[in-house]
Symmetry: C2
Subunit: 336 residues, 2 copies
DNA sequence: AATCTTCCCGATAACGTTTGCGGGAATAAG
DNA sequence: CTTATTCCCGCAAACGTTATCGGGAAGATT
């Protein structure tokens, strides 16, 4: 790729590079006639400033690093969609990294992003991440960071999530109001933020309706692909009349496991998932879900980050933004 | 972000930047003792070379630009997953762009990628793209380009696709072998490569089994969200006994439309889709599909591109690589 | 006529890094 | 003792761009 530079223009027009640069930036101290000449020539040769040279000079890359557990996941690909929409509009590019749910890989990819001189980081923590000290170090070096979805209280930084508490509360309340009493909760790793918030919402709804919280009805699934089925079996022994599962992956796994065991949904157990799957109403049975505004979460998160980067925000307090979820009631939780 | 540079090290150790640079690259003309000093100091301060400065100097960015119609699509997010897996291993970063199926946006994003000095481009064409002349221009300027999935014959460049012909043939053959005779084909915009290949596979299977090709059984869907239903209605008037739909989106739309009209699947019509949806067997009914090896397509495509970039390949001929598809027969195409 | 502005423009340094060239000091060879 | 080698290392240029400074020429003000 041989590209034309400001030098080429200067040589061709027999002027200095400074003049070319200034003409292209429409500086007041350049003769209009000279400007015209330069601009015409530049357009004719399809000149574009070398963004790498600019980055070096300005010590900014106009690149935002996004670290997610995995791309091939409805929620994250929708969030990334939202991120890109805003980022491009505001002159930033987005580089995506996957932690594959591993703490070690997360640290590595974050280092990569930093080495690449990303102007800021947008992170959804891997479920393997217990310690965010390495992020605190970066933050102290003035690297703008915004967390989304999987956040951590141990980091003083803006965060953007769905209102997991309210979503879980609404789901549980809905199950109770449709007559369910023994509501099992299948959730993910206990230490990550969304797990705790969703569990809290679940408990709060139980309490409000005078139901006892029974920890035998709660199971934490790890990352393994084959962990869901045994957990469902476990829970079935408690003879629940409803399943509320706390993630995309678990909701699907739960549905598959229940069908495999010929458990009638919703006759024997109701099912409701916390998921952004787009074909929920084509499933058998159509699955009730709590939908997260993934696209908007991405948009808001990147907006926060750009504000940080561009220093518009004096950071009065770390914003903890919660976006409303949406309860979608379908056949899997309706009797009759 | 204040980062440490080679200059800082030079100053601290009272040597020149050249010496530091050479010491870090383990040059033979540096005193082992000096090397040790430099390397130790660099590690202690967690020095990392500024990749932007390197890019400027070496006139390469180690960035690969990926342009896809949209990220939030199972096939593409899986393909991107494959792309990243290989790219990172080989020292490249990936910047993702979305054309949103629009030709204009595709041209813009490609320009962006070029302006960003991507070392090469990995493109899946927007369905709005009829003319690839703008890519030919870039190619003539020695920019490495590899097409995947949505390719074009008008560009002499390596391409990686699923074996769409064989996949469509297998799907159609399966429908015929299960007794279907009037097989409707719902496909996408007529001019893009995968449409033609899949249509050809469909026709070839019909012919091989002595069935007449009837263009009244074929419909082309545009991009509109609400186009599928009327087309399904259209096709139903031809009283088909099977639907073969040629894309992710259409397969889902088709299933939804048929269910809405209470058309019994597979009793009245069989249904088979060309799609990578991961929950196909949880749908009602479980949907038969032709699966594309999306992850592998991404891997192979980026491998081809990196070969081009690094000049390992003298380009004897533009490789047209086809990866096998997989027919997954489920209830939507099985009677009884 | 001397000074002051105003208008344009060029030379240069800087961002962080690598590399070709040159050169001083020590050692080896004559 | 002189010359040739070897071993280390520094200087400076280069990648493409912008910003600071400075300055020449022309016109405007005393």
């Amino acid at each position: 790729m041989d590209t034309i530079t400001i030098k080429d223009i200067a040589r061709a027009l027999n002027i200095s590079t400074s003049t070319v640069s200034r003409a292209l930036r429409d500086s007041y101290e350049i003769n209009p006639e000279t400007k015209r000449l330069v601009i015409e020539y530049a357009e004719r040769l399809n000149y574009h400033p070398n963004s790498i040279a600019l980055s070096l000079k300005e010590n900014r890359s106009r690149v935002i690093g996004v670290i997610v557990p995995q791309i091939a996941n409805n929620f994250f690909s929708q969030a990334i969609d939202g991120i890109e929409a805003i980022a491009y509009k505001r002159g930033y590019h987005v580089i995506i990294f996957q932690s594959q749910e591993s703490y070690e890989r997360e640290v590595l990819t974050v280092q990569q992003a930093v080495a690449r001189k990303a102007d800021g980081l947008l992170i959804s923590l891997a479920s393997g991440t217990l310690d965010v000290a390495y992020l605190r170090d970066l933050q102290e070096k003035k690297l703008p960071i915004v967390l989304f979805d999987r956040v951590s209280k141990d980091l003083d930084t803006p965060s953007v999530t769905a209102d997991n508490f309210a979503g879980a509360f609404a789901a549980t309340e809905h199950l109770i109001q449709t007559g369910r009493r023994r509501i099992a909760h299948l959730t993910i790793l206990p230490h990550i933020s969304i797990t705790q918030e969703r569990l809290a919402g679940y408990r709060a709804a139980l309490e409000q309706y005078g139901l006892r919280y029974d920890e035998n009805l709660v199971r934490y699934a790890g990352l393994g692909q084959y962990e869901v089925e045994p957990l469902v079996d476990d829970l079935l022994e408690q003879s629940p009349d409803a399943f509320f599962s706390a993630s995309d992956r678990l909701a699907i796994g739960c549905l598959a496991a229940l069908k495999k065991r010929n458990v009638a949904i919703p006759e024997t157990v109701s099912l409701i998932g916390f998921t952004n799957i787009t074909v929920a109403d084509l499933l058998a049975p159509p699955m009730s879900t709590v939908e997260q505004p993934a696209f908007e979460i991405g948009q808001v998160a990147v907006d926060q980050l750009i504000s940080l980067i561009e220093g518009k925000q004096k950071m009065p307090q770390p914003n903890l933004i919660k976006l409303p979820t949406k309860l979608m009631v379908r056949a899997s939780s309706q009797i009759g």
